[in-house]
């Protein structure tokens, strides 16, 4: 299925929740994924708060993709001291052993570099400032 590329905010969001801002949006992946390195904190797919017109992220939740083949973890690389963050990183994981996005994937391992994830969509809920 073809999805709108990038971020597609659901109707009714941004929504004020107490003193914070809640946003729910669908997100398509990159055309060529770069694996996340736990030693450097680089790679993965970085989502910037500014791309959504907000100042920062307090918390982010995400689902599997619409086909159930690709899971994703949210890594808030620059958090840890009670701070909102300007960006977070999505680290994609294969939930099947198969060719996905033009690359061979192994279940429960990170999606291979150069995988095309632009035809996959994830729903993300974020609590923002």
């Amino acid at each position: 299925m073809a999805f709108a590329l990038g971020n597609k905010v659901l109707p009714g969001y941004l929504r004020q929740v107490g003193d914070k801002i809640e946003i729910v949006f669908d997100h398509t992946g990159p055309t060529s994924y770069t694996q996340f390195s736990t030693s450097t904190g680089l790679g993965g797919e970085v989502i910037q708060a500014s791309a959504l017109g907000i100042g920062g992220f307090d918390f982010v939740e995400v689902t599997r993709d619409t086909t159930g083949q690709v899971g994703v973890a949210v890594v808030m690389v620059t958090s840890g001291s009670g701070n909102a963050v300007k960006s977070f990183t999505l680290v994609y994981t294969a939930l099947v052993t198969a060719t996905v996005g033009g690359q061979s994937q192994t279940i429960n391992t990170q999606i291979a570099t150069a995988t095309n994830l632009s035809t996959f969509s994830w729903r993300i809920k974020a609590l923002c400032v």
């Binding site: 736990t38 973890a73 958090s79 840890g80 009670g82 701070n83 990183t89 680290v91």
Partner: protein, 131 residues
């Protein structure tokens, strides 16, 4: 990276949402983790109490993340829930996302963090609704 030990509540929380308190906080793990054991009276894991650091009465719900390095996942176990009740504490079970030495102990991907692991240099973010 060195993190503040214990619980660091983000600015603006508790956030009043209707009759509930929404709280987002960072928390470092224990200096020596003990593996979680299931059962009628579970033991081990890392217990977070509503009254300690958060100063509230109980948890209705809690969502978790992996740590800031992407190496360890935190799973929330509400082992005192099940009757539509807020709970005074939750237990965190930590899962390795890599096969490597972390916190001074050998870890295997997709298995629980080893007993004796020092998780005090790892930080996890949680979102919770509290009473």
């Amino acid at each position: 990276m060195a993190f503040p030990i214990g619980i660091s509540v983000l600015p603006g929380y508790p956030n009043q949402v209707g009759a509930k308190n929404q709280v987002v906080f960072d928390r470092t793990g224990p200096t020596s983790y003990v593996r979680y054991v299931t059962g009628a009276t579970p033991t081990g894991g890392d217990i977070i109490r509503a009254s300690v650091g958060l100063n509230l009465g109980g948890f209705d719900n809690m969502d978790d993340t992996c740590d800031t390095t992407g190496q360890i996942n935190a799973l929330v176990i509400m082992d005192k829930a099940g009757t539509g009740n807020a709970v005074p504490q939750v237990t965190i079970k930590y899962i390795a996302l890599v096969t490597a030495t972390l916190g001074g102990q050998s870890q295997t991907v997709n298995t629980e963090i080893a007993t004796g692991t020092n998780l005090s240099t790892f930080s996890f973010r949680f979102e919770t609704y509290m009473v």
